[in-house]
């Protein structure tokens, strides 16, 4: 049996969600590694765009930042941040690929603060960065949450930084967000979720190996939708792990050897 870490599994499960011939705007860390892995596996024609202006680089190694010079290495275009935002607004980006600190049942994300007073937060996080823009304007949002726990999968966010389905069905449209957009997948350290097409509530579709449906329910503060048939994510293949360590992150920036 192949040995792997949960972080590797998350990255690999996330990569498997990306279809070929689509495009992704990716954040730092796991989203970036997942998109790169997808290009090496089932989605060779996946177009990757970086917030700071890099479009379709030939990434020599994992960038440490969404702006670093790796993101424009032999790129097809090196442009501006606002041009990337416009390109997303014009409908050319299929996947926004993000993380967050807290998430609610509608896939709304908090990456701004913990606490109740915005002027004096208990913990101050980075804020939106480009996440709100990506999740507002890309067709689908893919979310990676690295610890699935009741404190992170909450009934009510301390701050709604980035839109999921807001208050539920129809709510994005009511506020003026583009039609037919919103989160489509959540990848955590214990499972894979999507959103119920009618209720727009997060729905468990696959657990990671060794995890039960009940484990997931216990790790979640809100009531999840559960798919009629909950599958189990295949563990990483040798080839997926090889690509991750040898091609995507040879220096062990995210995945130490």
């Amino acid at each position: 049996m192949v040995e792997y870490t949960i972080k590797e599994l998350m990255c690999i499960v996330a990569a498997r969600q990306l279809e070929d011939n689509k495009s992704a705007a990716v954040g730092t860390g796991l989203p970036m590694a997942s998109a790169m892995l997808a290009q090496q596996t089932q989605a060779p024609n996946l177009l990757i765009a970086f917030e700071a202006g890099g479009v379709a680089p030939q990434l020599p190694t994992l960038p440490i930042s969404v702006g670093d010079s790796r993101t424009i290495h032999k790129a097809l275009m090196a442009t501006t941040l606002i041009d990337i935002m416009d390109i997303i607004g014009r409908g050319y980006i299929d996947y926004a690929f993000l993380g967050g600190a807290q998430i609610d049942k509608y896939g709304n994300l908090n990456s701004t603060m913990i606490g109740t007073n915005h002027n004096k937060p208990k913990v101050r996080f980075p804020g939106s960065g480009g996440a709100n823009d990506f999740a507002s304007m890309a067709w689908e949002t893919m979310i990676i949450m690295d610890r699935h726990s009741p404190r992170r999968f909450v009934e009510k966010l301390d701050f709604l930084t980035t839109p999921g389905y807001l208050d539920g069905p129809g709510s994005r449209e009511e506020w003026g967000l583009f039609p037919d957009t919103g989160p489509s997948r959540v990848i955590t350290d214990i499972c894979l979720l999507d959103f119920h097409p009618k209720t727009k509530v997060m729905r468990l579709i696959k657990t990671h190996p060794g995890i039960t449906i009940d484990d997931v329910k216990k790790a979640t503060s809100f009531e999840l939708e559960i798919a009629d048939e909950v599958g189990i994510n295949d563990p990483p293949t040798k080839e997926e792990l090889r690509l991750l360590h040898e091609v995507i992150d040879p220096n062990g920036l995210i995945f130490p050897h």
């Binding site: 700071a52 010079s69 090196a78 606002i82 480009g130 709100n132 823009d133 507002s136 930084t161 980035t162």
Partner: protein
């Protein structure tokens, strides 16, 4: 004026616009600048004394750890500038050093506190969480859109993002219905910073600047801001600029001061020239995360206050260390 239609405001955010300049103020300021090609070279300390005033709204070129004007940042700290409001458009080590030096009283935030993959900053967490620094939240896209409006000279701009979120609720934005299509959009006030500090690959002595690689947002920041201090890796003859005019990102008539400052972005990444000095940033972050704030003060003493200028900082770093960053940029010898 024939029509009595109105245009319903369906939501107004509660946030404060921390920049008080209007496009009309920015125009009046621009009017007074000479259009002549004047030699604008001066020592960095003189430029900061002259153009960065306590209480002003500061924009910073580059992005995250890329092409940020660190030499200028250190000099602002050395001169103990106070009560700056900073545009936090993916602000990382730049804003962190300014906050460590107690120069900052307000931030318009798109991204702060984080050092991307490297984790959170102790300095910024302390100052934001204590409430001593004012915050208004935006996004990277909307901060750029506000600058685009400031660059155009219009007082507001419609955007398709932030709608329905707390980011919107805590901003000064207003949601309206488009009078042509009925679609709801968020209107945000334009942004005209008092001063932009930026680092370019090259400039001539008049201030015509060229940047290699992705421009990120320096073009918009330059057009929106009242004053500009440019540092650059190299001052070149104007003939060099005239050979590739398409490459000019900022024209001279917007610029107030030009300083040649090789390695001026260290420890950040200058595309096509040098990569991050990661150990330097890690050491800096570690100092900032120490519960004892004196640890950071000691860092500042060592790397800023006890040095007279950026050249001394470079000397302290040593040539070997800098040379290695060039190798890293060109993928020689590992990441």
């Amino acid at each position: 004026m024939t029509d009595g239609n109105s245009f319903e405001v369906v939501f107004s955010g509660s946030g404060e616009n921390l920049c008080k300049n209007t496009p009309i103020d920015a125009r009046e300021f621009a009017r007074k600048k000479s259009r002549a090609m004047i030699d604008k070279r001066m020592p960095l300390d003189e430029a900061i004394k002259k153009f960065v005033l306590d209480g002003e709204y500061l924009a910073i070129g580059g992005f995250g750890h890329i092409r940020i004007p660190m030499g200028t940042i250190y000099e602002i700290v050395r001169q103990k500038k106070k009560n700056l409001t900073v545009s936090g458009h993916t602000a990382v080590q730049d804003i962190d050093v300014l906050m460590a030096g107690k120069c900052v009283s307000g931030v318009e935030i798109a991204y702060v506190v984080g050092f991307e993959l490297r984790g959170l900053s102790g300095v910024q967490r302390r100052q934001f969480e204590s409430g001593e620094v004012k915050m208004t939240d935006y996004t990277n896209g909307t901060m750029s859109y506000r600058l685009r409006a400031g660059a155009q000279g219009i007082p507001f701009i419609p955007v398709n993002t932030m709608l329905g979120t707390d980011t919107m609720r805590h901003s000064p934005g207003k949601v309206v219905k488009c009078p042509f299509t009925g679609k709801k959009v968020l209107l945000l006030p334009s942004l005209n910073p008092d001063i932009l500090i930026m680092h370019a690959h090259r400039a001539d002595k008049y201030g015509n600047c060229q940047i290699d690689g992705h421009i990120v947002k320096d073009d918009l920041q330059a057009r929106a801001s009242k004053k500009i201090i440019v540092t650059c890796e190299e001052i070149v003859d104007t003939e060099v600029i005239r050979e590739t005019p398409q490459h000019t990102v900022v024209p001279y008539f917007m610029v107030d001061a030009v300083i040649e400052q090789k390695w001026g972005s260290h420890p950040a990444n200058m595309p096509y020239q040098y990569y991050f000095d990661n150990p330097f940033t890690e050491d800096y972050l570690t100092a900032g995360r120490d519960e004892d704030p004196e640890v950071m003060d000691k860092w500042l003493d060592e790397w800023v206050y006890c040095l007279d200028n950026f050249d001394q900082y470079l000397k302290k770093l040593g040539e070997e260390r800098l040379k290695k960053l060039v190798d890293l940029e060109f993928l020689r010898g590992g990441n």
